[in-house]
């Protein structure tokens, strides 16, 4: 697993901010690099699944620890 290129800290932000901030961040991430997203919005689980399916980016890692969801996304 290569290193994280960019981290988006969206903890405490409500829908749709975790997705909006991630969509903004990926613009500055080269293809193939990894973006880490931290979010506390429970809706983000389904939202990131839908967003990656629609945009072609891929979730390569997904964990949850004490209410914090962590997604590692590979930029398409």
């Amino acid at each position: 697993m290569s290193a994280i290129h960019t981290t988006v800290d969206a903890k405490g932000l409500s829908c749709p901010m975790p997705i909006v901030k991630t969509a903004q961040a990926v613009k500055n991430v080269p293809a193939g690099e990894l973006i880490e997203v931290l979010a506390t919005d429970p809706g983000s689980v389904k939202d990131f699944a839908a967003w990656t399916r629609s945009t072609g980016n891929a979730i390569v890692e997904q964990t949850e620890d004490e209410g914090v969801y962590r997604f590692v996304i590979k930029r398409a």
């Binding site: 409500s14 901030k21 629609s54």
Partner: protein
Amino acid sequence: MDDKPLAIVLFSGTDDKLNAAAVMASGAAALGRPVHIFLQYWGLDAFRADRIEDDHGLAAEAGAEGKAAVDALRAEGQAPWYETLAMAKELGGVEIQACSLSMDVLKITEDDLHDLVDGTEGVTAFYLAAGDAQILFI
């Protein structure tokens, strides 16, 4: 890529409905969908440059309990609707147009409007711009 355009007719001017529109717009923008927002009546009135940050109240059905819930979210630092819209515009593909009839009714000129608004158009231009977009009325 799901890129079906979204067109929102934003008629309502209370903060909850303005926020709902901002959420729908920014979510679509994050998916790369073009978004066209048409501001009518009280939705347009909320975009006056000198009032955009005012408290625009809530829909009647919110009641005291609803207001408390919304106030609590604000206190936790939820971004106001106009900041969410500004972020959506930064993502690109989001255009906001004022309805010319509503401008006449409310005696508003383009100089009175916040920079988030890109221009003025009539309903015909709106339908032409919307094309086969999904249209929401809020």
